[in-house]
């Protein structure tokens, strides 16, 4: 079975790299993260040797970049008709769903790894807590996984990659946004606001990510992302099955 998953992951990755998608994505992603960290995040002006600005901007960059990675996962298969080929192979559909997801996740891992010049910069400028940086990178990667799994679900629901992209951006915004509201409402003391704050921070990617990225290693927050990945991947499988009969 592992060779089968490996085969799918390899094919997906080679599909990214045999088209301009991968190169365009990697170059612009790395460029944008650096640019925004130095301008919007004001890395130098803060006078602190950490990657705080980078990690606080990353969720919003992910919101636009990751849908570009996940949009083709299934929409393209449906568009080309290869979905029939794929789903009549003697491989459980779950294996294919997971294989495709892992390929996208590995690709994002590479993109994250390529932001290493930022890490080199702060190490040159000062003495950052590298353990904390590593934890934040891991948190980013975990959150990216959850976002890609959500994108995989959206991609499975359409044959149009542009639709998949736009809907995924919107869905990711909905998943991030409650975390912002939570931060705003934190100061409020009314019971209703308290309840809403807790609810928002419980469902939002952002609050879980912030805690992890702050170096607060928390099993619950980690499990939250792993669970989210699992839920979206199961939903992807169900969507594929449902779409076979309900959309020609």
């Amino acid at each position: 079975m592992s060779t089968v998953i490996g085969g799918i992951v390899r094919r997906e990755l080679s599909a990214y790299f045999s088209t301009p998608i991968a190169w365009v994505f990697l170059i612009i992603f790395v460029f944008m993260t650096a640019l925004m960290t130095f301008t919007l995040g004001d890395l130098f002006g803060r006078g602190q040797a950490d990657l705080g600005p980078f990690f606080s901007l990353l969720p919003w960059l992910f919101m636009f970049f990751l849908p570009a990675v996940s949009m083709r996962l299934w929409a393209e298969e449906r568009q080309t008709g290869n979905i029939e080929l794929l789903l009549t192979l003697p491989v459980p559909p779950a294996t294919i769903v997971i294989g495709k997801f892992l390929a996208a996740w590995a690709f994002v891992a590479l993109a994250l790894a390529l932001t290493f010049p930022l890490w080199l910069t702060i190490n040159y400028l000062g003495e950052p807590d590298n353990g904390k940086v590593l934890a934040a990178y891991l948190a980013s990667w975990l959150m990216a996984g959850a976002m890609l799994a959500a994108g995989s679900l959206v991609s499975a629901s359409t044959r149009n990659q542009v639709v998949a992209f736009v809907v995924t951006v919107f869905l990711l915004f909905l998943l991030l946004w409650p975390g912002m509201t939570a931060a705003e409402l934190e100061s409020s003391t009314s019971g209703f606001a308290r309840f809403f704050t807790e609810l928002a921070s419980a469902v939002s990617f952002l609050s879980h990510f912030r805690r992890l990225a702050d170096g607060i290693v928390n099993v619950a927050d980690g499990l939250y992302f792993v669970g989210t990945i699992a839920i979206f991947l199961v939903a992807t499988g169900l969507m594929l099955e449902w779409k076979k009969t309900h959309a020609l």
Partner: protein, 326 residues
């Protein structure tokens, strides 16, 4: 062997396949004939395990498709309509990927790859990207992926669609050569193909089976079955006389080609009588021959207008089948 028992499939409120029952034996090429949208592709998708039927049972290689989908998929090779493939992949890499997914490893994989590349004459394009290939080569790549694991059952959705006559001939030869030890179902709306490759045919219209039999048996439903045709300069008076013979149902005259077709009453054998008549009237005849029947006419009659006589033909066909077939 493939057997479908009373399978039906609905999409939304539209019934695409209705109560379809048929069997395809090992060593047999079964043709699915029918107009576009008749339900051929949907039926094939159900046999390959891509779509579940709403009702009915499908068995492939003695296995129930819904109970053991993976085991069934393992023994089936499938060429989907249009024969896609990953355009950005090279032919060899694509075939290797499919081989791996089908559980081939190491030397078995290598042997399978070499066999299909040789079988489908793909050496020249093995390192090319699929998107750069001509339609004919793309189709051959599609066929190659369908047979890489040497499956017992082959499901081919319009395997020769869009190919030029030479390529069609190649694909048909390939199918015929493979047919001996496999069960093959292919769909087509090219009638010449039916005679060329199919041992038996089922005609589907609006998701229903309207006729089944060997190509020859289906030709018997044509009014041209045992019709006598010839070319001649024939006076109209003689033509009228010919028409008035009791064994003649109708006479068709093609003015440009000077071709006359004499259609018999109720499929009677009239060849001797007609040739005798022509000799009597001193008609100089070229290309006198007896027709087997015209499949395209049978096809149009069975699938063109959905009326009560269609059902009648089905009943007749079934009766013939019970006697002549299994």
């Amino acid at each position: 062997m493939i057997s479908c028992y009373r399978i039906s499939k609905r999409f939304h409120d539209h019934t695409v396949v209705r109560d379809l029952t048929f069997v395809a034996q090992t060593g047999e090429v079964l043709g699915f004939l029918g107009p576009n949208g008749a339900g051929k592709t949907t039926t094939m998708k159900m046999i390959t395990g891509y779509l579940p039927p709403d009702t009915g049972e499908i068995e492939v290689c003695g296995l129930n498709v819904q109970a053991q989908p993976l085991a069934v998929k393992r023994c089936v090779g499938y060429l989907p309509e249009g024969a896609p493939g990953y355009g950005e992949m090279r032919v060899w890499d694509f075939l290797r990927f499919i081989g791996q997914m089908r559980g081939l490893r190491g030397s078995a994989l290598q042997a399978g790859l070499e066999r299909v590349v040789w079988l489908l004459d793909l050496e020249k394009v093995a390192t090319q990207r699929i998107e750069t290939l001509s339609k004919g080569f793309k189709r051959r790549v599609g066929l190659a992926q369908a047979v890489i694991h040497d499956p017992q059952v082959l499901i081919l959705d319009e395997p020769t669609d869009g190919l030029d006559p030479n390529q069609k001939q190649q694909v048909r030869e390939l199918i015929t050569n493979m047919a001996q030890h496999k069960t093959i179902i292919l769909s087509t709306h090219i009638l010449e193909e039916v005679n060329a490759v199919c041992d038996r045919v089922i005609i589907i219209a609006n998701g229903q089976l309207v006729a089944r039999g060997t190509p020859h048996q289906l030709e018997m439903y044509s009014r041209y079955h045992r019709a006598v045709s010839f070319e001649a300069d024939i006076p109209f008076t003689v033509l009228d006389q010919l028409k008035s013979l009791p064994c003649v149902l109708d006479v068709e005259y093609h003015a440009r080609r000077k071709q006359i077709t004499v259609i018999p009453t109720q499929g009677l054998y009239i060849f001797d009588e007609i040739s005798h008549f022509l000799r009597q009237h001193d008609v100089v005849v070229r290309r006198l021959r007896m027709e087997a029947g015209r499949l395209d006419e049978v096809f149009r009659n069975l699938t063109g207008s959905q009326s009560t006589d269609v059902n009648q033909v089905v009943d007749e066909t079934s009766r013939v089948n019970l006697g002549a077939l299994r």
